[in-house]
Amino acid sequence: MDTATLDAASLLFLLGATGAYAMSFVSFALDLARRSADATTADASARASRVLAGSSAAGATAQRRAGVATLERSGGDGSGGGTVDRPRSPISLRVGLALAVLGFALHLVATILRGIAAARVPWANMYEFSMTGTLVIMGVFLGVLVVRDLKFLGTFVTGLVIILLGIATVGFRVDVVPLPPALQSYWLVIHVFVAILATAFFALGFALSLVQLLQYRREAAAVAGLDPRAGRLSFLRSLPGSEQLENLAYRLNIIGFILWTFTLMAGAIWAERAWGRYWGWDTKEVWTFIIWVIYAGYIHARATRGWRGSRSAWLAIIGFSAVLFNFGVVNVFFKGLHAYSGL
């Protein structure tokens, strides 16, 4: 088969993958809706326990503890994602996961076909970078699921991947062209792939930090004795507690940070080989540095009084926003040596 045919097949598989992801997204979203409903049903008993605690002699402290205990119960042990309240993995969740795996398989085929069509690694321009990047985000998500039950992030991950794939096929799509000499290097394989991997971990960390902030707000309201249903996001009650979410986010983010550190260094080594200097404050280098410093700040914030918790979560969110900005805006609109968007 020739290049164009293979590339057309790749595109077809990619569209199929996007379709599967879209249905997966709907299933995961239905699951969140179900969780909200479950939480509301469980509400009566929760309120009863709060009232009991409030009337006990221990007063305020006991009330706080009861609040905490309720959260702990629904928080599960971090591997259950609310298994106490929801003993069996509900059908919508299982369908969502199966569709995500199907989408991933189609996506993988699409990416490999593109690589065969181009006779090189499929990440040499924005279109291919988006395709492989979203594939890796999905892969890391599914891989992490083996270790931790983070299925509740399914809506977020499939949603993000669909948006990125949409932008990629509509906005960034280019035909296969040969690699310019500047990109003919094994550093393209290493540096760019590790950057993609780092991005995937940052994406999951970002999602967890977002949920953590929502969860924290809900917990704070619960401790203050407000009606926890006040917030519309009652599915949060079936998710791990904010502290547990924070720890999970931290673990994913430090993996991302280490990969990013490597990306930065490998990029410097490559720049030295290709341009004769390892660091020149080129636009892309600047943004890689900015992202690195933001995440270093995030790690520090977690060890700084008054910054652990929500504030450090905001830094993780800003960090990932910078990653997206670096990819979507700096690549396309900024001028610099890294002119490989293919657009």
Binding site: P180, Y278, W281, H300
Partner: protein, 571 residues
């Protein structure tokens, strides 16, 4: 772990923080529990003397909060430099910016925005950050070196409050001294094998592991200082320069041979490494099949002969993009290419007054190139020519006239406009070889004149206007532009970078934890073994590690039991 027991454990940890604790700034936390409200460093202390103020200031500077603030400030301060062109990397962009934004330019320039990364404000931020870093790391290093030589602290009185607390019982064993001693000894051996540093007490074992975590953290931060210092000092010992070489020509590594040269402060410009490089051929491959990329270059290979360097003998090698030539401590990079038409000008008598291969600067991907020829001597008047070179010339139906449709030499044409007058070469003002200032010149031929411009294919000769002489295009060799760099410190930077990465890995993934085993004699005469642990920093595996240790210890004791069943009195 439930949140309540977690916070209790943390509270205990604070009390029991012994000498083995890594030293941290005052506002360091490693748990979500708010610290017991005590004197805060934001509260002004009464009556500080000058020394007191200095101390206070130093403590502020080396606090976690300041480090965090400076880090975030550094990230923000790096942004402007990505929004406007920088003098170091894009001087033409800066000039263009000045033309486009005449009002804004002086303001931004006054703020050093075009030199962001060497500006006063950017430098102050990172220098302050690194002062803070050193102030933070030095005491921690001293403290850590002590900790490395001291034993783990005593076993806490009540293990039940610690993380991962669990108990095992030894059935059918008398709670006598021998059994206890045996349990202690076996726990010691087991923990030792697991890489713990262990101290034993009559009834308990206290063990700690993961000192490498703090070591990694210190290596990481120190290596950052190493990079900064090496880059700061190292810049002074290196140099970089550019040189355009036409096929067949040579370059000798001396100051005068460079087109441009940027030496570091400590470089002796008269004693550069001695070698010579001859460009034999620059071969370029263009895509010809893929319809989406016709004419896109897919390979540049500069074949060169080098002479000198360490071996002192001539040898032939190649320089490619991404594959620099390392010679005599310098690196030679292939960064640009183009055509250098060989042009000969003769006077009316046929005497050669000018002959040279003149590099023309590429203007588009199909290598339409612009160049200038200056003939100051030998003709009736000084002659300047501005020309376009088209490697594959075609004429469009529209107004634009000639263009190049492919970057390789398929239909090469050189078109020249001729000017006469004072070239300004005698005024002692340096003039770019790529530019012709036509203000004081008179145009004789080409666009906007009555005389058509000169058009030449290789091997052709044409008359210059006004009977000035002739001009011929003899050949069209390529030129390559090389960057030549010498940086004696980049190996050190790489070494420090590796330390940064290694330090990071150890400090983020090696758990530092304490583990205790304690034998407790119950009132009813039985023996209970208690186990617990303490995380020092992020340690998701702590509880399973304690449980695992308890299980293995219990099993080992039981097996030892079986083996020595007949004589349970064994010590």
């Amino acid at each position: 772990m439930s949140r309540l027991s977690d916070s209790r454990a943390k509270a205990v940890r604070r009390d029991s923080a012994g000498s083995g604790d890594p030293r941290r700034p005052d506002d360091y936390v490693d748990s979500a529990t708010p610290p017991p409200s005590g004197p805060d460093d934001t509260i002004t202390q009464p009556r500080l003397g000058p020394i007191g103020w200095l101390r206070w200031f130093w403590r502020q500077l080396t606090s976690m909060r300041t480090a965090l603030f400076l880090l975030l400030l550094l990230a923000v301060a790096a942004i402007p430099g990505s929004l406007v062109p920088q003098r170091t990397s894009d001087p033409n962009g800066v000039a263009q910016y000045k033309v486009d934004n005449p009002d804004l330019f002086p303001v931004l320039d006054g703020l050093q925005v075009f030199d962001t990364y060497s500006s006063v404000w950017f430098s102050s931020i990172y220098l302050l950050l690194f002062v803070s870093l050193i102030g933070c790391v030095l005491p921690r290093t001293r403290h850590h070196l002590q900790a490395l030589r001291s034993a783990p602290p005593r076993t806490p009185a009540r293990l039940a409050r610690m993380a991962g607390f669990t108990t095992r019982t030894l059935d059918g064993r008398p709670a006598d001294d021998a059994t206890v001693a045996h349990a202690v000894e076996s726990a010691r051996a087991m923990l030792r094998k697991g890489g713990y540093r262990v101290v034993t007490f009559p009834e308990s074992v206290s063990a700690e592991r993961g000192y490498l975590r703090e070591t990694g953290n210190l290596v990481f931060h120190s290596a950052l200082v190493g990079i900064l210092v090496t880059v700061g000092i190292g810049g002074g010992f290196g140099y970089s320069g550019q040189r355009v070489i036409v096929e067949g020509q040579s370059f000798v590594n001396t100051l005068s041979a460079y087109d441009s040269f940027n030496p570091g402060r400590f470089v002796d410009e008269n004693r550069l490494a001695q070698y010579r490089v001859k460009l034999d051929e620059l071969s370029v491959t263009y895509e010809e099949e893929n319809q989406n990329a016709i004419g896109q270059p897919t390979d540049y290979t500069a074949s060169v002969t080098t002479d000198g360097g360490a071996a002192g003998v001539a040898s032939e090698t190649a320089v490619k993009v991404n594959e620099p030539l390392r010679i005599a401590g310098t690196d030679i990079y292939l960064l640009g290419n183009g055509y250098a038409p060989t042009i000969t000008v003769r006077d009316p008598a046929g005497e050669v007054v000018f002959t040279d291969s003149v590099p023309f600067l590429p203007q588009d991907p199909n290598l339409t190139s612009l160049g200038v020829i200056k003939v100051p001597d030998g003709l009736a008047q000084q002659v300047g020519m501005v020309g376009f070179f088209y490697p594959t010339q075609e004429t469009s139906e529209h107004e634009e006239g000639d263009f190049s449709s492919f970057p390789d030499l398929r239909n090469p044409v050189l078109s020249l406009n001729v000017f006469v007058g004072d070239l300004g070469l005698d005024q002692g003002v340096p003039r770019s070889v790529y530019e012709l200032n036509t203000d004081d010149l008179t145009q004789l031929s080409g666009r906007n004149t009555d005389t058509p411009g000169i058009r030449l294919a290789p091997g052709e000769t044409q008359e210059l206007p006004d009977g000035l002489g002739t001009v011929s295009l003899d050949d069209v060799p390529r030129f390559a532009s090389f960057d030549i760099h010498h940086d004696p410190t980049q190996g050190w930077v790489l070494l420090f970078a590796v330390c940064v990465l290694a330090g990071l890995l150890t400090s983020l993934f090696i758990p530092r934890r304490r583990v205790w085993m304690k034998a407790v004699r119950d009132a009813d005469g039985g023996l209970r073994l208690e186990y617990a642990g303490l995380a020092r920093g992020d340690d998701p595996m702590l509880e399973s590690a304690v449980k695992d240790f308890a299980d293995r210890h219990r099993t080992a004791l039981a097996e030892a039991d079986d083996a020595s069943a007949p004589s349970s009195e064994r010590i």
